[in-house]
């Protein structure tokens, strides 16, 4: 009895120590570290490498926010969360922000009391099938066995799609992506469905990726983005505008290579100047210093660089920009003006 009290007191002091009040920004600054919820391992988006360092598209956003707020891209505690624990972890204050390929939906934004602060990846649910099956459209899948990774919106989309097309299917819910792959490759299910980005990432790891096709139908909209607790708008603004800064940086041609040069003195482009803090006081308005965006871009690069480095066409994941190209290139990625 006594012992557990001791342990609680001790561990409470030594291990947790964290305090999550109303003002997340102050907490993060006081702590000197930001807690960022990520997925438990999805290659390209958030996965620990062989040395245990977290890498990926979602991870880069955490690092960007940490460098904007704390000036150190490594001042992040990555908290791996399952689909089940992610919202509780956020609302109970265990993490300061969630960057865990989470789909922005109405009920999550309202009923679960979270705030989505933007979209960093436009995804959609697709199907992958072996070529030898001869399937060319998802509408041919009548009676098929479908592997799904549980705990996401994918189950609901799948049910809606098959219902709307009035065809039958048999769902096989699987806990992790790795196990779903195993089932799929062994033929225990005919098709595998998850977000198209995930399908591409999964297919990239197969022995013979060309033996599998990704069907043309995208059956859902999956805008993935970071989210924060409802009600702390200052913190929400920081996360939102850090993401926007990365996006705007690509549009304006600011890269991690030239950000030091561009940000050293005011240049010709006033928007670059405002973004990098050489003109105006945007940083002050969100409670940070003038160099916040400069640090974020210097730490992880602009949106395009992050994309290319983690999930772009030269990586094993090999995703094309597609919808995620800048609006100037026909995509949907668009940052509001910095002024």
């Amino acid at each position: 009895m006594k012992k557990s009290v001791f342990f609680g007191a001790l561990a409470g002091a030594a291990l947790a120590g964290g305090v999550a009040g109303a003002a997340t920004l102050d907490d993060v600054k006081a702590r000197g570290k930001m807690n960022c919820g990520v997925s438990t391992g999805l290659v390209g988006f958030a996965a620990p490498d062989a040395n245990g360092n977290w890498e990926g598209f979602d991870v880069a956003l955490c690092r960007a926010v940490a460098s904007a707020v704390l000036g150190d891209a490594n001042a992040v505690e990555f908290v791996p969360l399952t689909t089940k624990t992610r919202f509780t972890a956020l609302s109970s204050g265990e993490v300061d922000m969630l960057s865990r390929n989470t789909t922005w939906t109405f009920s999550r934004d309202t009923d679960l009391k979270t705030d989505f602060t933007g979209i960093n990846y436009y995804d959609g649910q697709g199907f992958m099938a072996p070529k030898e099956l001869g399937v060319t459209s998802a509408k041919d899948l009548d009676g098929a066995t479908v592997c799904i990774q549980t705990g996401t919106t994918t189950e609901l989309n799948l049910a809606d799609f098959f219902r709307a097309n009035n065809i039958s299917y048999e769902p096989v819910p699987i806990e992790t992506n790795a196990e779903a792959q195993q089932q799929y490759l062994a033929g225990a299910c005919d098709v595998y469905t998850t977000d198209a980005s995930g399908l591409a990432a999964t297919r990239a790891t197969f022995e013979d990726p060309t033996a599998h096709v990704i069907l043309p139908e995208i059956i859902s909209k999956e805008p993935l983005g970071p989210l924060v607790r409802h009600g702390d708008n200052e913190w929400g603004d920081i996360v939102r505008w850090t993401l926007n800064a990365l996006i705007a940086a690509e549009e304006l041609g600011i890269t991690s290579a030239n950000v030091g040069e561009l940000g050293s003195a005011a240049g010709d482009n006033p928007e670059i100047n405002r973004l990098l803090g050489t003109e105006g006081n945007l940083g002050e308005m969100i409670g940070l210093d003038a160099d916040w965006a400069k640090r974020a871009i210097a730490a992880v690069g602009n949106y395009g660089e992050i994309f290319e480095k983690n999930i772009g066409e030269n990586t094993p994941i090999g995703l094309a920009r597609g919808l995620n190209a800048q609006w100037t290139n026909g995509g949907l990625i668009y940052a509001p003006p910095f002024r």
């Binding site: 109303a22 689909t83 089940k84 919202f87 509780t88 609302s91 109970s92 009920s107 999550r108 009923d111 679960l112 009391k113 030898e132 099956l133 899948l141 009548d142 009676g143 098929a144 066995t145 549980t150 705990g151 996401t152 189950e155 609901l156 799948l158 049910a159 809606d160 098959f162 219902r163 299917y169 048999e170 769902p171 096989v172 819910p173 699987i174 806990e175 195993q182 089932q183 062994a186 033929g187 225990a188 299910c189 005919d190 607790r229 409802h230 009600g231």
Partner: protein, 404 residues
């Protein structure tokens, strides 16, 4: 020394609350009650504050709303338009189904291994103790995953049955073992099939009655009536005759390869089989130990006495040892059943839609109502456990009465 306190003067003093054994228990209970109330108040207060801060509330309304997801293994009608409540019921039924099946087979495995562990055959004895030790000392979660992986990797996919020279064939042309599950013929109930079923039920009753009668004859008049053949005859013949008389009202619907899958027949899904088998073989190892302990608890004199009466070894076991050992075996056996029910919650590792996977899994994820879902989940398991414990107490009491 001379001033002896007057014993009459034992009026109540405050210190007696601590020092007098008559009142001290009241003090302690009062303290305990206060502490308990404080703890509840503290936790409840924190909960309310936290929920208010997060803007959440406790509500069970989601139970009436459409769930939006499909479940592949279901005993009652269910589709994605059904409510979350119905999904939970599907889950409950699935939990009970796998627990029931696993209890049956675990008992068979356990009794088998337990008896064989005491066999005269050295090799068999060692083999069984290897089985027991291996399964008892490795976590059940690892077993469930391993067995599911074996099923997926070793059994052929339905695809393998296709083509002119398929890699896999169906057993007797009727049963297909695939990594999606086992497909067996399903009965088709034609008109008049009810008569056949009733005949069958009647013949089961008949077999029991005959065996009772034979036992009675044995004890009362010492006549040994043949057991095996008449039992078999009563069991099968009337039903078979009735079946042909009525023109084969019960047909079989054979599974056939069609489209992506086998169609028709009855499918027993791979997750169900993996979970069922893993739970049975894991718990079987524990039951084997209980059975062995139970048998060894019967003194050797009983075996010797039975042998001296000229009973064959098999009969010694069946007629003398097991009936006595059961009294020792059954209480731990029932607590193993309880463990099976609780361990079936690991179904989420293989994607079997039990209550933990529906209510505590997908419903929780979709609605985000963590507190409500987890509370209900615990309530369900608690109810099941208490029911089984109650059953066990009834059994224990009935056994006690027979003791002399």
């Amino acid at each position: 020394m001379s001033t002896v306190t007057d014993p009459e003067q034992a009026s109540f003093r405050l210190s007696m609350l601590l020092n007098d054994t008559r009142y001290r228990s009241l003090t302690f209970q009062a303290i305990a009650a206060i502490l308990l109330a404080l703890a509840f108040w503290y936790l409840g207060n924190n909960l309310i504050q936290n929920l208010r801060a997060a803007g959440l509330n406790i509500s069970f309304q989601f139970f009436g709303e459409p769930s939006g997801y499909d479940i592949n293994q279901r005993l009652i009608e269910y589709d994605s338009q059904s409510t979350h409540g119905r999904a939970a019921i599907v889950g409950i039924l699935n939990t009970l189904l796998v627990a029931f099946l696993a209890c049956l087979t675990a008992t068979v495995f356990g009794v088998f291994a337990g008896v064989l562990r005491l066999s005269n055959n050295w090799l068999v004895r060692k083999l069984m103790s290897v089985y027991v030790e291996i399964f008892r000392n490795i976590p059940v979660l690892i077993w469930i995953i391993i067995i599911f992986t074996i099923m997926t990797a070793v059994l052929p996919a339905p695809r393998a049955f296709r083509g002119d020279e398929p890699e896999a064939t169906m057993l007797f042309g009727a049963i297909a073992f695939t990594n999606r599950g086992i497909y067996i013929p399903a009965p088709v109930w034609g008109p008049g099939s009810i008569v056949v079923v009733l005949t069958f039920v009647a013949s089961v009753v008949g077999v029991i009655a005959y065996r009772r009668y034979a036992t009675k004859m044995l004890y009362a008049e010492g006549k040994l009536l043949p057991m095996a053949w008449p039992s078999l005859a009563i069991f099968f013949l009337p039903s078979v005759i009735m079946y042909f008389l009525l023109g084969r009202p019960i047909g079989l619907d054979y599974p056939e390869l069609g489209g992506f899958n086998f169609r028709g027949g009855l499918q027993i899904g791979a997750p169900l089989i993996a979970l069922w088998f893993a739970l049975s073989i894991y718990t079987g190892a524990f039951i084997a130990e209980n059975v062995r302990a139970g048998i060894q608890a019967i003194s050797k004199g009983q075996t010797e006495a039975a042998s001296a009466l000229g009973l064959r070894p098999g009969r010694v076991m069946n007629l003398v040892i097991l009936p006595q050992a059961l009294r020792v075996i059954i209480p731990p056996l029932i607590s193993q059943y309880l463990n099976i029910t609780k361990n079936s919650s690991l179904a989420i590792a293989v994607g079997y839609a039990d209550i933990t996977a529906t209510l505590g899994g997908i419903t929780l994820n979709q609605t985000g109502r963590a507190i409500e879902c987890v509370l209900l989940l615990m309530l369900f398991y608690l109810t099941i456990s208490l029911l089984i414990s109650a059953g066990m107490n009834v059994y224990n009491n009935s056994m006690k009465l027979k003791e002399r």
